[in-house]
């Protein structure tokens, strides 16, 4: 294999990291450095990964690994390179491919921290530094074609000055496996390439066309399904067809990680419990088989996302959460997962996420959320709960109902992350949430979620997430940060009449 192939794949430091093997810490990079120097902030969220050979990281973000696999499958030699080593590839690179989850910090929750603090989030700063690095500038001078993509590809449409300034040649939006080979081939041949590609349903890869990763992914993340059947209007994943990755394919990818020494596994899906499901109803057998297989190989396991309704249904019907946790607890104390609450407003829920509560009726959304939170609390599943404010059509009544729901779930161990509305999915032609759109009730929701999260974060950090003595320095820094934030927020609260009575 050519050690310096003509096609290089990279991303910035906030993405090229294993986040101390704690995926959730990666989210620290979505905020600006507060109360701490930028360097320490970056160290908390994104320490440098282990480097193997001439800049190749041991583990890289799963999306980059998929692109790498797709190119190799097309017969194009390529390599993922850590951003700090790009200068080793200046003279040999012809095509530079850059992926990201949030290039410009417009995604959630970056845009929220940005709006609240008025300071640019670290991920945005870090990405700009990469694009303005001497290595990339020199590559561009040499005529290198730059192709960018990933879940945040849409953000380039709002940053056309930077698109121009940094000399990006092509933006690819969507599942790229079927189109990327041809595009790179054209770029290598010096042919005309599109400035923008949106991958529609005709070019979405089938199960057989999704290549398996050939090198390890960050924290052992493996995809178990693509798409989601719930059809929430604010989500872009729902626009993709639903595909369950066969168990043997998932196992082969897990083994790629395990063989490289990455002993943790992270199951990625929009709703892990819907793996092999009957519509929106989880089924016991595929879920159990998936976990049994995973636990044969890894020492600890995480889920990327699950839904409140699936958690409730899986437990009520099969006691599935208890069964899974019983298995997992032979190896770990808790399970971390991201779960969407999105709104407590029932009318809003009917409009924008009518199937989010399915198979339970949308009118029972509060009950479903409460039940799911209780199930997770009792079974040591620790959710990072997302909540969206500023959605189109949101009314005062919706916000009051959200506050009411937050009260109902305050006794359950979790972090609640409020997010400002970002136009995606079927709502992508709507307006972004802006500062002038903030209402008193939004501030009350933000404050309530802050109170909830700071209370539980202390316990989670100490008793679960960073319990091991290995994490002592990191825990110390985070505890200092929480103390700093508490002091700062209390000062702000004293000045805000909206909150004094809340």
């Amino acid at each position: 294999m050519n050690l310096k192939p003509e096609v290089i794949i990279t991303t910035d430091r906030t993405m090229m990291s294993n986040h101390h093997r704690k995926e959730f810490l990666g989210f620290v990079a979505t905020g600006p450095a507060i109360g701490l120097p930028e360097k320490i902030w970056l160290w908390i969220s994104s320490p440098k990964p282990k480097i193997l050979d001439d800049g190749e990281p041991l583990e890289a973000p799963y999306g980059l690994r998929k692109v790498e696999a797709a190119l190799l499958k097309s017969g194009i030699e390529t390599k993922v390179v850590d951003p700090a080593y790009l200068n080793h590839y200046i003279e040999t690179t012809k095509v530079l491919m850059i992926g990201h989850h949030d290039f410009f910090a417009y995604g959630p929750p970056s845009n929220e921290w940005w709006l609240i603090t008025g300071k640019e989030p670290i991920n945005r700063i870090s990405f700009a530094k990469l694009m303005e690095s001497q290595a990339i500038r020199r590559m561009k001078k040499n005529g290198v074609k730059i192709i960018v993509g990933g879940p945040a590809a849409w953000q380039w449409l709002y940053e056309r000055e930077k698109w121009k300034k940094w000399g990006v040649d092509s933006v690819v939006d969507g599942e790229s496996e079927k189109v990327i080979g041809k595009l790179v081939e054209r770029a290598l041949n010096g042919e005309e390439i599109p400035s923008y590609i949106y991958v529609g349903i005709k070019d979405v890869p089938s199960l057989e066309e999704i290549p398996e990763i050939v090198k390890p992914s960050v924290n052992g993340l493996v995809e178990i399904m693509r798409g989601c059947p719930r059809g929430c209007r604010f989500c872009s994943v729902t626009l993709r067809p639903l595909r369950f990755i066969p168990l043997e394919k998932i196992e082969r990818e897990m083994l790629v990680n395990v063989k490289a020494g990455i002993k943790s596994g992270l199951l990625h899906s929009e709703d892990v419990l819907l793996y092999g499901a009957d519509g929106v109803k989880p089924k016991e057998e595929p879920i159990m088989k998936l976990h049994e297989m995973a636990l044969r190989h890894v020492e600890d396991l995480g889920w990327s996302h699950a839904s409140m309704a699936a958690i409730r249904y899986a437990q009520e019907k099969y006691k599935l959460i208890s069964k899974i946790m019983e298995m997992l607890k032979t190896k770990q104390d808790f399970l971390g997962v991201e779960v969407g609450l999105e709104t407590g407003g029932l009318e809003l829920a009917k409009k924008i996420m009518p199937a989010k509560s399915a198979p339970y009726p949308v009118e029972k959304w509060h009950e479903t959320v409460e039940e799911a939170m209780k199930i997770m609390h009792e079974n040591d599943v620790i959710p990072a709960v997302t909540l969206i404010i500023g959605m189109p059509e949101e009314t005062e009544e919706d916000l009051l109902q959200t506050l009411e729901l937050l009260d109902k779930i305050k006794g359950y161990r979790s972090l609640i992350v409020p997010m400002m509305f970002v136009p995606m999915g079927a709502l992508k032609n709507k307006e972004f949430y802006k500062k002038e759109m903030i209402r008193d009730l939004h501030i009350q929701i933000l404050y309530k979620t802050y109170q909830h999260s700071i209370y539980w974060a202390k316990e989670i950090v100490r008793k679960s997430y960073l319990k091991s003595p290995t994490y002592l320095p990191l825990r110390g820094v985070l505890e200092f940060f929480m103390w700093y934030v508490e002091n700062k927020v209390e000062k702000i609260v004293k000045e805000l009449p909206t909150l004094r009575s809340a």
């Binding site: 390439i193 400035s195 923008y196 590609i197 005709k202 089938s206």
Partner: protein, 128 residues
């Protein structure tokens, strides 16, 4: 999922000739999406304008924002005098020309037998 991509149908190909400060009307974007869905969910758009990249891409916001299912490929080109030559042989199905684009350009395209549609992209009358 029923997949017919293996048939490898040609995309619907359109060219848009437009000058700065003009806009693509939503009806044209909708028309293109309908045609693309009929043809097999692929659309290739060549944008010829006097703008620098990537602002030509932004001209197509009405198309991009209303598309959820079509593979959209936008190729941007500088508007040049020999536009007819540029477009010939690319299998273009339709060429939308903004009404303020010079008459000469229109005539050249007509001479080459291209399927032209003239549209009004706003009120500012600019000459190329």
């Amino acid at each position: 999922m029923e997949r017919s991509s293996e048939k490898n149908e040609d995309p619907f190909r359109a060219a848009i000739i437009i000058l700065r400060d003009k806009e693509i009307p939503q009806e044209i974007a909708n028309e293109l999406l309908i045609e693309a869905r009929r043809r097999g969910f692929r659309l290739e758009v060549f944008v010829f304008s006097d703008l620098d990249p990537p602002d030509e891409v932004a001209i197509l916001f009405p198309l991009i924002n209303h598309n959820h299912s079509v593979t959209l490929s936008i190729i941007t080109k500088k508007l040049v005098p020999h536009i007819g030559e540029e477009l010939t042989g690319r299998g273009i199905d339709v060429v939308y020309v903004e009404k303020s684009v010079r008459e000469k350009v229109r005539l050249e395209l007509e001479k080459r037998g291209l399927n032209l549609k003239i549209f009004d992209g706003g009120t500012n009358e600019l000459e190329a």
